[in-house]
């Protein structure tokens, strides 16, 4: 009888269920990362305390291995689309997957000495790092509300844990708790918005939503409200003002490599989701999101920069600076709806900004980690006279800071120039005003970036301790990779701009 019931239920379900056709090549990066996760857990279980460093190596190699299919997919000409269009592997997703994986690799390099010498759990740390990375890689391909939500949770939850990794430190506990509570709140808001969007459009597919939102549902007030809610949820993720309050405390309290990871990879993850939602899902409702982004961008740049001016701790300063940088990334969204040309250039501007921002911000954090190995301090004053005993690090930090400030011929200048191009392509008064706000902000930002440079080059050494700083090979590798990227893109921006062009979701 049981058998009959099972047979009946199977036969009842069978006609509805069609096994999805999986494109294993397109899924290879995710599969590799999942494999790495398994290996990490097993190795951590098997090896002794002294050999735990192996987990760092495995994570690093695993992440690089996941890059291989990204390249082979890049060579493959046709995009892959699965689950009825909910999961797409196109140029956009490949460019961002590569960015996430490279960022993840650099973060592993930054972490290996920090985590090992700080006597923290190692295997678990890399397990969580790779999990979060898997979430980001999925996010780059997600074209469906549920997939986006899954990816977001997968990339966020390990982040909450990693922020509290220095568990004997009150600040680290505060960091994790604040990040977690506000993160959950934002998720709730966003989910509510998503459920309303689904309720009105009857689909979770972004392309489907795009068709509905432009067509029969134009101008429905509840829909406008739900778009607002969804975007506000992601504004938290990218720490846009006024959803930024968690960022400085979390960034300061979390272990510095985790801070770098959150401020680059996690922020990029949120930005990718916004790109997908805005340009595929809600494109035709720019009357709702353009003013929202205008306000977010203007506030985020200005508030971030003004508070950064007053910081005395380098990590907090970089935290507020990264809030301000998110503001520049949001500027193109505010002008994207104005005309077709601006839409294309705005999309490119954000993608190019993300790519360049990753290199320069990771570089700056790597220098901070390296210097803190000697000074054991995060105060900006502890950088006094750095040039006298660590000239190489000083030059690197100067390059990263001035790149963040947008001084040519460093990469950051091009990031800003592409934002301004989008603004001018739009040409409306509102856009130009926002452009002026961005320009004024770039000058304000120069003050605090140059302030650190002045401390390093022109001030005396505070404690007269001039022993050189030893740079472990892993950190040296991270520094080399980021500085080469910043300088090469600075001299020949074309090579990066191409990624912006080919990855466009705007047709």
């Amino acid at each position: 009888m049981l058998a009959a019931a099972v047979a009946a239920s199977t036969s009842a379900v069978a006609p509805h269920f069609k096994a999805p056709i999986l494109d294993y090549h397109a899924l290879a990066p995710e599969i590799v990362l999942t494999g790495v996760l398994g290996v990490l857990l097993l190795v951590d279980l098997v090896v002794g305390e002294r050999e735990r460093w192996a987990t760092s190596t495995i994570a690093g190699i695993g992440i690089l291995a996941a890059l291989i299919p990204v390249f082979t997919l890049g060579v493959r000409s046709h995009p892959g689309s699965m689950f009825g269009g909910a999961y797409v592997v196109d140029n956009f997703s490949l460019v961002l997957k590569a960015l996430f994986l490279v960022t993840g690799y650099v973060v592993v390099l930054m972490s290996s000495n920090y985590i090992e010498e700080g006597d923290y759990y190692e295997g678990e740390f890399y397990f969580l790092l790779v999990s979060s990375l898997l979430g980001m890689v999925v996010m780059a391909s997600a074209r469906d509300l549920i997939t986006i939500f899954l990816a977001l949770e997968l990339l966020s939850i390990p982040g909450y844990l990693m922020a509290g990794w220095r568990k004997r430190d009150v600040k680290s506990n505060e960091a994790a708790l604040k990040y977690y509570l506000l993160g959950v709140l934002a998720t709730a808001v966003m989910l509510y918005g998503m459920s309303l969007v689904y309720g009105y459009t009857g689909t979770t597919l972004l392309t489907g939503i795009g068709a509905k939102v432009g067509g029969s549902l134009t101008g429905h007030p509840i829909l406008s409200f739900s778009i607002f809610l969804v975007l506000a949820g992601f504004a938290f993720k990218v720490s846009a003002v006024p959803f930024h309050q968690w960022a400085p405390d979390t960034y300061e309290g979390a272990p510095t490599p985790v801070t770098a990871f959150l401020s680059v990879a996690s922020k990029t993850g949120g930005m990718v989701a916004i790109l997908e939602l805005v340009y595929v899902g809600f494109l035709n409702r720019h009357d709702v999101w353009a003013p929202l982004f205008w306000a977010l961008a203007a506030l985020t740049m200005t508030v971030g920069n003004l508070i950064a001016l007053r910081q005395t701790n380098i990590v907090r300063m970089l935290a507020y600076s990264s809030v301000a940088q998110a503001g520049y990334m949001l500027v193109p969204f505010a002008v994207a709806g104005d005309n077709v040309k601006a839409r294309g250039t705005a999309f490119e501007a954000t993608v190019v900004y993300l790519l360049i921002y990753a290199a320069m911000n990771l570089g700056a954090f790597t220098v901070v980690i390296t210097v803190a190995r000697k000074t054991r301090s995060g105060e900006i004053s502890s950088y006094g006279g750095l040039f006298e005993y660590a000239p190489g690090l000083t030059v690197l930090m100067t390059v990263f800071l001035f790149s963040l400030a947008g001084v040519p011929p460093l990469a950051g200048a091009w990031a800003k120039i592409f934002v301004f191009r989008a603004v001018l392509d739009s040409g409306t008064t509102a856009a130009v005003v926002l452009g002026v706000i961005a320009a004024v902000n770039s000058v304000i930002a120069l003050f605090y970036y140059a302030g650190v440079a002045r401390e390093m080059w022109m001030r005396p050494v505070p404690d007269e301790d001039r022993t050189p700083i030893s740079v472990p090979p892993a950190l040296a590798g991270a520094l080399a990779a980021t500085v080469v990227a910043v300088l090469a893109v600075g001299v020949y921006p074309n090579m990066l701009v191409r990624f912006g062009e080919i990855s466009s979701l705007v047709k």
Partner: protein, 505 residues
């Protein structure tokens, strides 16, 4: 065009950058190796300059030569477009020669806190920026090189400068950056209004369709960017501070080359691309220029510090250059380019001497100095020679920058007010009298008489060997150009006519 011609300009710009990269690899302790690398590469760069000088087609100096025009940033139609014509060639060579001389001069006296490696790297990066600015034919490329100059100079002043260095460094930085911001805004306006191109040559045609009122605004933005760099009155206040605090070599670079980037910008970009706006703005530029001449001279008369005096004299001399430019006449602009080269050589020399004086006497206070002709006769005579050159003595280079500039304001471009420009002429002529006054006064206080009691018994070394090597070429050039100014004029004349083509002279 042989194969090297294609690479020559690239080499002129990037050889110093390559040297800077190599220096990074030389250990900090091996100072001789660092100096050798810097010297070899700067001399090689100058060699490229001499090669350009021999291969340059002087009959065709209006035309850009050794052009390289490659793809660079496709999405904004910005190209790696470099070329040299009669206006950029003398300035390029000036920049190359001055850099070599600065390396030689520094050989044995490095300003505190020492660290020759970093100092040399900054010099080399600076040279890349300067040479690139003189060769760029694309606005974005120009902007990148123009900005590249900023950072090394900021650090040079801020790290190796005098007691008030941090204030001077940030003041220099912010003034220039403010100008650059307005300048890039004007570049973008030219791009969007002038046919979506940043190419300077193409813009000379395509920008002519821009409405006159818009042109006036764009020109105003360019004016701010360049005038702060020159610096013109009333934007000059950063200059005395920067010069006073900068290390000797920094002052020399600043006076000899960096100020010229501003005036060069007028001649290369603002006037050829926006001739009508230039015509409308010319009287105002002329007014500021003559105010600068008189104000700079009066400022000099009030100075007690030798270096600060020379800094103010730069404001006056650059006033003559700007007056020449404001006439928009071929004589005026030829004079301006000559004036740039002459001022670069002469004021560069004066700053070298001021640095050497500071090093020997530990002070630049003119009231404490005196009797250099007795105590260090050679240096005293060199100071006298440079002071004469600077006040515009015929037969020395300074004369050919000043005299034709004054002459040209007798007959400015058609349509400009004759009465106004002739008034400028008279005022500028009075300015030359002031110039003679303050320079001779400085010479008198520093070199004549007997040494003051505090230095009377001190052993003060006369000119060192590295100083001889660094100074001789500059002194020879001051004399040769003074005796045979056509060396420069026959290069510049064709290009100047090309630049003024649209003004109809």
């Amino acid at each position: 065009m042989n194969a090297f011609d294609h690479w020559a300009l690239g080499a002129a710009v990037f050889l110093p950058a390559v040297a800077a990269g190599l220096l990074l690899l030389v250990p900090r302790a091996q100072e001789t190796a660092q100096k050798a690398v810097a010297l070899v590469f700067t001399v090689a760069t100058t060699g490229v300059g001499v090669y350009l000088l021999t291969q340059f087609d002087y009959g065709n100096s209006r035309k850009l030569q050794f052009v390289v025009n490659n793809r660079w940033i496709d999405v904004i139609n910005s190209r790696y477009h470099v070329g040299v014509d009669g206006i950029s060639l003398p300035l390029l060579l000036l920049s190359m020669v001055i850099t070599v001389m600065c390396v030689v001069y520094s050989w044995n006296h490095w300003p505190e806190p020492h660290n020759p490696k970093a100092f040399l790297i900054l010099m080399l990066v600076l040279e890349t920026g300067m040479n690139g600015t003189f060769l760029a034919q694309d606005l974005i490329l120009f902007f990148v090189f123009f900005e590249l100059v900023l950072l090394p100079m900021y650090f040079m002043i801020g790290v190796w400068g005098g007691p008030n260095r941090q204030y001077a460094a940030i003041k220099f930085f912010l003034f220039t950056l403010f100008g650059s911001a307005l300048m890039i805004l004007s570049f973008l306006a030219l791009y969007f209004k002038g046919g979506q191109t940043f190419d300077m040559v193409a813009l000379q045609h395509s920008a002519q369709t821009i409405a006159h009122s818009t042109q006036l605004l764009i020109f105003a933005g360019l004016f701010m960017g360049f005038a702060i760099k020159v610096p013109m009155f009333p934007f000059h206040t950063w200059l005395p501070d920067a010069h006073t605090e900068a290390p000797t070599v920094g002052s020399v670079f600043l006076a000899a080359i960096l100020l010229k980037l501003g005036t060069y910008g007028f001649v290369r970009i603002a006037i050829p691309i926006l001739p009508q706006a230039a015509h409308s703005w010319a009287p105002y530029i002329g007014v500021l220029a003559v105010i600068g001449i008189i104000y700079g001279a009066l400022g000099c008369l009030a100075q007690r510090d030798m270096k600060r005096l020379i800094a103010f004299s730069s404001v006056a001399h650059m006033g003559f250059v700007m007056l020449g430019i404001a006439t928009l006449s071929p004589i005026g602009i030829n004079a301006a380019v000559f004036g740039m080269v002459a001022h670069g050589l002469i004021t560069g020399m004066l700053f070298f001497i001021a640095g050497s004086v500071q090093e020997r006497f530990g002070t630049r206070e003119l009231s404490r100095l005196g009797g250099m002709l007795v105590q260090t006769p050679r240096m005293g005579w060199i100071l006298g020679f440079c002071a004469m050159a600077s006040l515009g003595l015929p037969g020395l280079a300074g004369f050919w920058g000043e005299f034709p500039a004054i002459l040209s304001s007798y007959q400015p471009a058609a349509g400009l007010s004759l009465a106004l420009f002739r008034t400028f002429m008279v005022v500028a002529a009075v300015g030359t009298v002031f110039a003679a006054g303050y320079l001779l006064w400085m010479l008198q206080r520093a070199a004549f008489g007997v040494p003051k009691a505090e230095f009377a018994d001190a052993h003060i070394h006369d000119v060192h060997v590295p100083e001889y090597i660094a100074w001789t070429p500059l002194l020879v050039l001051i004399l040769v150009l003074g005796l045979y100014p056509n060396l420069i004029f026959h290069m510049t004349d064709g290009a100047v006519h090309q630049a003024l083509r649209a003004i109809g002279t």
